[in-house]
């Protein structure tokens, strides 16, 4: 019936079809963009190892050490992580140059945790135009949660506005008749807090806030502002300041004998850099909020997550100061990326990386406080939105109350 030739054609075409079928399934299993392959995932990073913000350089070193640990444990889904990090010295033009080098010369899959609001603003447009993920940026500005306009950019830490909303929530519950004085740094940092705080108070903002006082970061001391605020008759002080000024405020309050309900930002909770210089006798009862564990706090010694962190620091970053919050931050953010890349499986395209980063559900890093989880969605690019209140007692912070999440910003 069939001639030899016909059979041959049929066999040939079946073979082709079979081949096409297998190769298409193979493609569905493994998909790569530039920077990813069967053996390697290339990740780029920008960090100020030198210059005015070089204290943050420890974050980049921690991340490099974390990925070294992952590689020694066999990598992510069998692929080694190649972590390329450059020094931008906190200078936006340098950040642009290095980012372009990462993308066009090193050909990384994504840019991870670049630090600083100015540097990230400088590279955001470029990375979004090139459709390259700018994942988990190390800045607390609220503008990184903007999936509509910048679908390739995502923050990580609780942003300043969310944090301030949580303080507002706390006040409304605990002290609804408070007479609030707001002290803030006159830049994007301070203004973000004020905006979030007022939104959190809602209609009551007008009646509750009795005075607002701002200072310039260039002022050597803010004592005169504190005296003015005390004279306003306020009984609650919202202290939206950076570490140096938070320490000054706490100290001046102590000297004046003024004991308002005093809330400082999460940026200024360092025991070594704020509480100790201000004087432990003045710091008692000061309130703030946290989302990460404190590496130097003995209460976490038996915590399974922190045990892993301590083992990591001892083995991969020997000799580091465990009280340095950069070590906790770097570990936590690197672990989040680790999780996202694990979820990507064999589909390591940039699109899938963003998709997976936007589908984190109740992910808990080793270093986040118990009950504080990372959640993201296609319309919510703000991973951490929960914090827990804490009070300074003795020589350390004591957590209290429930984990609070901000309703806004979603």
């Amino acid at each position: 019936m069939f001639s030899g030739q016909k059979i041959r054609i049929a066999a040939f075409s079946t073979a082709i079809m079979a081949f096409a079928a297998t190769s298409s399934t193979a493609l569905a299993q493994k998909k790569y963009d530039t920077g990813a392959s069967d053996t390697e995932i290339k990740i780029g990073n920008i960090m100020p190892y030198s210059g005015p913000a070089s204290a943050y350089g420890i974050i980049g070193k921690t991340e490099a050490a974390y990925f070294q640990m992952i590689n020694e444990q066999g990598g992510i889904n069998g692929r080694k992580v190649n972590f390329i990090t450059y020094d931008d010295a906190y200078s936006p033009p340098k950040a642009v140059e290095h980012t372009r080098k990462l993308v066009e010369s090193d050909e990384v899959l994504l840019v991870f945790n670049p630090l600083g609001t100015p540097s990230n603003t400088a590279i955001q447009k470029y990375l979004n135009a090139k459709k390259i993920p700018q994942l988990f940026v190390a800045t607390g500005a609220a503008k990184w949660n903007d999936p509509k306009n910048f679908p390739w950019t995502m923050g990580w830490q609780p942003n300043y506005q969310d944090e301030a909303r949580i303080y507002a929530k706390y006040l409304l519950k605990e002290k609804p008749d408070a007479k609030v004085a707001v002290l803030y740094q006159n830049d994007d940092f301070g203004k973000d807090y004020v905006k979030g705080f007022k939104e959190g108070l809602g209609d009551k903002a007008k009646s509750m806030i009795v005075t607002e006082e701002s200072y310039e970061i260039s002022e050597p001391t803010i004592d005169s502002h504190i005296v003015k605020i005390k004279a306003s008759g306020a009984d609650t002080l919202m202290d939206f300041t950076t570490p140096k000024f938070a320490a000054q405020t706490i100290k001046k309050n102590g000297e004046l004998g003024w004991k308002p309900l005093h809330i400082v930002t999460n940026v200024s909770i360092s025991v070594g850099a704020v509480m100790k210089p201000a004087g432990f006798e003045h710091s008692q009862g000061v309130l703030s909020a946290a989302y990460l564990k404190d590496g130097a706090d003995p209460q976490w010694n038996d915590d399974p997550g922190m045990k892993k962190w301590i083992a990591f620091v001892d083995k991969y970053m020997p000799g580091s100061n465990k009280a340095d919050s950069g070590l906790v931050f770097g570990y936590g953010v690197a672990q989040t990326l680790h999780k996202v890349l694990e979820m990507c499986g064999d589909n390591l395209t940039r699109e899938n990386v963003m998709k997976q980063a936007a589908s984190l559900k109740d992910f808990q890093t080793d270093v986040a406080l118990p009950g504080i989880k990372i959640n993201t969605s296609a319309t919510d690019f703000a991973p951490f939105q929960q914090v827990q209140m804490m009070r300074f007692k003795g020589e350390k912070w004591e957590l209290f109350g429930e984990v609070i999440s901000s309703d806004g910003g979603k």
């Binding site: 190892y49 020094d87 200078s91 936006p92 033009p93 066009e104 994007d188």
Partner: protein, 340 residues
Amino acid sequence: MSTIQDTVAKTDTAAVDAPPKKSMALGRAASWAMLIVLLIAPLFVRNFVIFQMTMLLIYGIAVLALNILTGGSGQFSLGQSAFYAIGAYTSGILMEHFGVNYALTLPIAGAICFAVGFLFGFPALRLSGIYLALATFALAVAMPQLLKLGVFEHWTGGVQGLVVTKPDAPFGLPLSQDMWLYYFTLAISLAIYLASVNLLRSRSGRAMMAIRDNEIAASAMGIDISLYKTLAFGVSAGITGVAGGLGAIAVQFVAPDSYTFLLAIALFLGMVVGGVGWLPGSLAGAAFIVFVPNIAEGISKGLSGAFFGVLLFIVIYLVPHGARQGAIYAEMLFNKLRRS
């Protein structure tokens, strides 16, 4: 100046030789070779490298501006970053708030910086040497904070800075944005370079150099010292402003933190490495400040600053007169080869 003095001056020019061109520019063959390299190189490299070359030219212009001030009129400035910032912000604000074409913002940036530099030159007249360097340094330190002031925030964007749109190639030319910006910058650099060489060889240039060499003698010869000193400041600031504007367009972002005093020191460093008073050296100096930090970082992340220092030390030790000395060696070698 009266007409009589002018005629005297004119007859003088014929008698006195202009400063030899070689002392501040490259020979003809070397110039053409350099130009051809700059023209052709971008065709063979990646966009990222083209961007780096654009930054090289831009810093080259800024170093050249400082070279006119220090090499030409003998005044020190550690405040060039302030003029660079003013130029960058002028271009950025005009482009983003007023929709002005990017090419038109450059002369405006230059003019504004010329005015600012000229005015700053007056108080600077009373200072000389290291005191002037310190006064300009104060300007560089103050500038980032001034840019953050709430009063200007509506225009400057405060701490957040301004994001600038990168221009496309005009007339539908088949060039990438980076390539077009490179040639655009190259054309401007070339124009500024030629104008600067001519300026230093002109009557004004000779007046500036006379002031540099001996102020009292220059004044005895009838040179208006305050005019030429402030003029040198103005021209230098104006050119730096154009470089700043180009920098803003290339980087697509201006923010106060981009223009700290570290930039001023980098430009000063570039001038010394390139050779004070030797204009082509500006490009070599710019190459030093763009590429050497990257090399140092490649050697060690933690000690990048120390390695940068070591490299700088080696350069200063081996060629104390900067790239100019290197060029002289190269020329001698070339002539030797030709003779043999």
